[in-house]
Amino acid sequence: MSDVAARELRIVGFLCNWCSYGGADTAGVSRFKQPTDLRIIRVPCSGRVDPLFIVKALLNGADGVLVSGCHPRDCHYTDGNFYARRRLEMLKRLLPFLGIDERRFHYTWISASEGGKWQQTVTDFTKRVHELGPLHAKKEATP
């Protein structure tokens, strides 16, 4: 990690192509300033997000994971986010059982027009992850 990056924490974002990735684009087009910690992975649908990706990220170095999809009923694929909602809620409840603060994982629904909501979500979530601090201070280093 470079020196600059030391100020940042690792936040992984999974965004559905149709709504939330567009929402993040909208925020960009509107020049809505945001913290820079988040790294975005584009997926076709929040239903594509296997909860294992989130676990994998959190176990392997991420300090926070954000998943965002289309609003319920608005899924480009009709049902994808309905599946996502159940699976992500299951994970959200499981994380604290494992000893991982569930606040490190957030899932939400943001449409392509909601640039403002995206900005707010990124800002608030980044702030929260910073409040929680790094997750991996004591973890073994995996090359």
Binding site: M1, S2, V4, A5, R7, E8, R10, V12, N17, W18, Y21, G22, A24, D25, A27, G28, V29, R31, F32, K33, Q34, P35, T36, R39, I40, I41, R42, V43, P44, C45, G47, R48, V49, D50, P51, F53, K56, A57, N60, G61, A62, C70, R73, D74, C75, H76, Y77, T78, D79, G80, Y83, R87, Q119, T142, P143
Partner: protein, 653 residues
Amino acid sequence: MRVGVFICHCGNNIAGTVDVAKVAEETRKLPGVVYATTYMYTCSEPGQEEIKKAIKNENLDRVVVSACSPRMHELTFRRTVEKAGLNRYFFEMANIREHVSWIGENKELNTNKAIEAVRMAVEKVKQNKPLYSSSFKINKRVLVIGGGVAGMQAALDCADGGLEVLLVEKSPSVGGMMARLDKTFPTIDCSICILGPKMVDVAQHDKIKLYAYSEIDEIKGYVGNYQIKIRKKATYVDWTKCTGCGTCMEKCPSKNSYDHFNFGVAPTRAINIPFPQAIPKKAKIDPDYCRQFVKGKCGVCAKVCPTKAIDYEMQDEVITEEVGAIIVSTGYSLIDIERLPEYGGGRYPDVITGIQYERILNASGPTSGHIVRPSDHVEPKTVVFVACAGSRDKSIGIPYCSNFCCMYIAKQAILTKDHVPDSQSYVFYMDIRSPGKGYDEFTRRAQEEYGVKYIRGRVSRIYPKGNKMIVKGADTLLGTQVEVEADLVVLGTAVISNSDAGHMAEKLHISYDTFGFYVESHPKLRPVETNTSGVFLAGACQGPKDIPASVCQGSAAASKVQALFSKDMLESDPAVAKVNINACVGCLKCVKTCPFQAIKEKELRDGRVVADVIETVCAGCGVCTSTCPCGAIQLQHFTDNQLLAEVNAICLT
């Protein structure tokens, strides 16, 4: 692997807050990257040439462009690399504009974020596989849902272009809202006179198959190959026999049926033809009112029908049709007056809606065009129009403008004066919105030539006093309260989406906004397309619009269908799910969760059962991939390994 990376300055858009040279420098250190450069405008013609040249000179087999959002230019660059001989899926984009340079203020942090974004893209592109589209035949028939003016225009344009059209209309006649209007603004043309010929054209066009009084039960399939189930609702009249003579309607003893066409301005018969110009001009029984259905005996219509067309036992009929594209033109509804209690909420007969007033004004309407008020059938002398009755009102959840009320209120005020020369009209309005051609002049004419009194302010309450309606409101220009004693009050009620708009959207797999209006692909540049390819929008189902705008969209949607059908074959998106039959254990959880029924079970020669994807049906959502426990079904281009490569690029550093 030989990856080439092109980092775009985007003028100053990126280079202003990201050190692009540094990004290129760091990118060169990545294994697999043999070439990394920056360019002022990568999407420009010379920028694309640069990529092609580098592919050739450096023998690149993978390309990453780090620039704007892939939603913007992914397709552009895919074509570029394809022209240079690479498979278009050997390409990835790193979004360092919308997601980096435009949202972060610190150049150092932005640069670092951009470097990582490129690293993720490089790691992903190394996992990419070449994917090949397969082509499939298109069924060149088009389904138009909704026979209002937009749908008819679309149907006629498609049919004139030689396409076979199925027009499905849920009410007994085509024509929609426009057929109910008396005159149209700003020309005061007779609405049915200009629409009638179109309706006749629809009926007579040999390429148009009209399903009136029918609804869509189910839509399956994908662009080019849809299977549609159409429910022909029971009319209890055999339309092949019915001549539209109207004898049944004359003799029907049930005289208090609700008249849907006239919005209940006056009752109609239980068996009726909705209006004289109806297409098809056929009778239909309303079983909620028909004595044969309610009381079990009557049979008058059956007795009087000269062609013996009455069939009380008729059942709904479901027909399956196949089409290649769908135009949705399902129109709009109006807010129920009960949601406006301050205006009486429907308790006062002399407070009516604009569309009801249209029917009163209309020569073929229940009052034969004589303006009388519903309570006592007396000609009103003072008529008050209330604009924005529900529109632009957050408190009832309708923050938007209904688009055409200002104009039709002006028109109705003018017509009122025409019909009742000694009348006086008042219009309570918030703003006059008349941005069309000749529109503003029209509203001025209402005020200046017809003496309509425009009062800028909202109405707080309407209540009866004696045989008058008192309209109480504010005049914000004078800063006072005003009370007008009216004989008749006309509400410019808000335009809302149809109550079943959501269900229809779900059948079509298209999205709709909070208000139930369908969402177009792009508000500026793709106004009639939806995000579901093969489904197009026309008319007010996409948002309130007036007749010319609806007609424009109808034609536009038709031209989109023509363009789509100009080819005989369509290319499928190869980014669909694929099953590794060696890994598949045949649990078929993917079959259960696929939103598109695109996965079937298949028995292999050795008797093993595995999942099998119907490539053309698969829409590429990836629900199956996250469902499959053994990673056997992988959404191409978004495989587990591709996403893991990105996760690892972020985490394992």
